[in-house]
């Protein structure tokens, strides 16, 4: 079957530094695929380039059979793909409700927007309780939920999650990982970028390991779990 997202010889360069050095990656429909590696391995650069935030210097990104390599970021959500970026980056001076409304900016039909908001509130009842509150006043965990909820507002088929567990208490991290599984069960394909290798491999179907801009290992999550300790520590 044709993969939902397919990167081939994918490269990203910032000036003299090549952050992503020609990677090949496939994400099948309905999968949770983890993209693992240490800080600076090129994971976030890959995600940002797929989403159009940084230019792709070489290679292709195909989403659902369509070439999205050179699309600007604002054209990406319309195609059915969203990135919840690293560091949550909710709009702190907007209310929770307005953050969600912005997540649905590309959605034209008001009924779809309402449905998407109901879904997010069902997943995260705390966001409904705090809907009138400024997003900046939420706790870190709640902000992460809002960031994911905001990304879900345009009903994506593929959700790229960049380090959703970063800076969260262990109990909250667990909640976030459980939620990712729930989302996959609802039909959302997920690409999960993580430094929390153990946690990510627990829920992922497959995983890629990146180091210095290259893929240095890949396979079913179960196999990667056995190998990961060495290869992850080897990065340091």
């Amino acid at each position: 079957m044709e993969p939902l997202l397919k990167l081939s010889d994918f490269r990203v360069r910032y000036g003299a530094v090549e952050a992503v050095r020609g990677i090949d990656m496939e994400i099948g429909k309905g999968e949770i695929v983890a993209l693992l590696g240490a800080n600076g391995a090129g994971k976030s650069s890959t995600m940002n380039a797929v989403a159009g935030l940084v230019p792709v210097t070489q290679g292709r990104a195909m989403f659902d059979g369509r070439d999205i390599t050179d699309l600007p970021p604002e054209a990406i959500p319309v195609s059915g793909l969203t990135l919840a970026p690293e560091g949550r980056r909710v709009f702190g001076t907007l209310t929770v409700e307005d953050n969600l409304r912005m997540g649905a900016y590309a959605v034209q039909d008001p009924d779809d927007v309402r449905r998407a908001q109901d879904r997010v509130f069902a997943l995260f009842p705390i966001l409904e309780e705090r809907r009138k509150q400024w997003a900046g006043t939420l706790s870190g965990g709640q902000q992460q939920m809002l960031a994911i909820g905001r990304a879900l507002m345009c009903a994506p088929r593929l959700l790229l999650l960049d380090e959703p567990s970063l800076g969260l208490a262990p109990r909250v991290v667990e909640q976030v990982f459980e939620l990712i599984v729930t989302l996959r069960d609802q039909g959302v394909t997920i690409c999960l970028v993580e430094q929390n290798v153990a946690g990510a491999l627990d829920i992922a179907d497959r995983a890629y390991m990146m180091r210095s801009g290259r893929i240095v290992g890949q396979g079913p999550a179960a196999d990667m779990r056995d190998r990961s300790a060495d290869s992850y520590l080897g990065a340091h």
């Binding site: 935030l53 980056r89 709009f91 409304r101 590309a106």
Partner: protein, 297 residues
């Protein structure tokens, strides 16, 4: 007491005009980090439209919307022609670009219209005054205060309730993430310029109706003042720009009214010293912008 009230009305009228201008500067700055010194030339353009409308005997009620529309169109054209190519350049590059735009327009006005100040026909009623509870208030002051009020309320509603207004606030806070949501960079920036042009147009009408003349450098002084107001309020903060505009209006009007005659020569430096004093106490301005707060050490 009456004198204080009387001067307060003047201060609100002048401060309101500064507030409108500062708000336009802040709006563009908050979204693309550009301090648009050519903002004043938008005012001048609106002023010249008023002048030509007067010459062509276009009724004032029609001339005003035409002048405002001209300022909006000019602002959008400015963005499209001059600022879009340098959008991702450094703040200094954009600043210098805006100086260039301002100077080019000034030269165009000087060569194709006139170096001299030109009279603008203003309806008589604006020059009259009414007595309100013992105060004699110029009709133009009342119009200025009302117009400012209407603009501020309308803008507040737009930025708070309308999807596109919220999108502008989102883009001001985190442009990259706003784009991830599907908010188009070009649309949002163009809208910010259109709004800043609208505000400059309204401010120009108010400014010209106090003076009944327009010259090629007309926009320079008020926009310099508005820039000071925007810094005073917290650069990039919309509420701050409004607060800064009114505060600056009060400082200027009250110094002019109550400073002893010998000191009047030092009015401007004293006023600016007060501004510096405020900034010493609140370095990020009266109401700092959210994005500035994040990088505050």
């Amino acid at each position: 007491m009456d004198l204080i009230l009387q001067q307060s009305v003047n201060a609100v009228a002048l401060g309101g005009t500064y507030a409108l201008l500062a708000l336009g500067l802040a709006m563009v700055f908050s979204i693309m980090g550009l301090i648009n010194f050519a903002h004043g030339e938008l005012m001048t353009i609106a002023g010249y439209v008023l002048m030509y409308c007067g010459l062509a005997s276009v009724p004032f009620v029609l001339a005003v919307p035409l002048a405002i529309l001209a300022a909006m169109a000019a602002a959008m054209a400015m963005e499209r022609i001059a600022f879009r190519p340098v959008r991702n350049a450094s703040g200094a590059t954009m600043l210098v670009t805006s100086f260039a735009v301002a100077m080019i327009l000034q030269v165009v006005f000087q060569n194709f219209i006139s170096v001299r100040s030109q009279p603008v026909a203003i309806p008589d009623f604006l020059g009259q005054s009414v007595t309100l509870g013992g105060l004699v208030i110029g009709v133009n002051k009342i119009v200025a205060i009302l117009a400012t009020l209407v603009m501020l309320v309308a803008l507040e509603l737009f930025m708070k309730r309308q999807k596109h207004g919220i999108a502008m606030r989102a883009a001001a806070e985190d442009f990259a993430v706003a784009r991830l949501m599907g908010i188009r960079a070009n649309t949002v920036i163009s809208a910010a310029f259109a709004l800043s042009g609208l505000l400059a147009g309204v401010a120009a009408v108010l400014w010209v109706s106090q003076r009944a003349s327009v010259d090629p450098l007309m926009g320079f002084t008020p926009v310099l003042k508005a820039f000071i107001a925007a810094i005073l309020g917290g650069l990039g903060s919309l509420r701050g720009a409004v607060a800064g505009g009114f505060l600056l209006g009060f400082i200027e009007v009250f110094l002019a009214a109550f400073l002893p005659a010998d000191w009047q020569a030092f009015r401007e430096p004293i006023g600016l010293s007060l501004v510096v004093l405020v900034l010493v106490v609140r370095p990020n301005g009266l109401i700092p912008a959210a994005t500035l707060k994040a990088v505050k050490v």
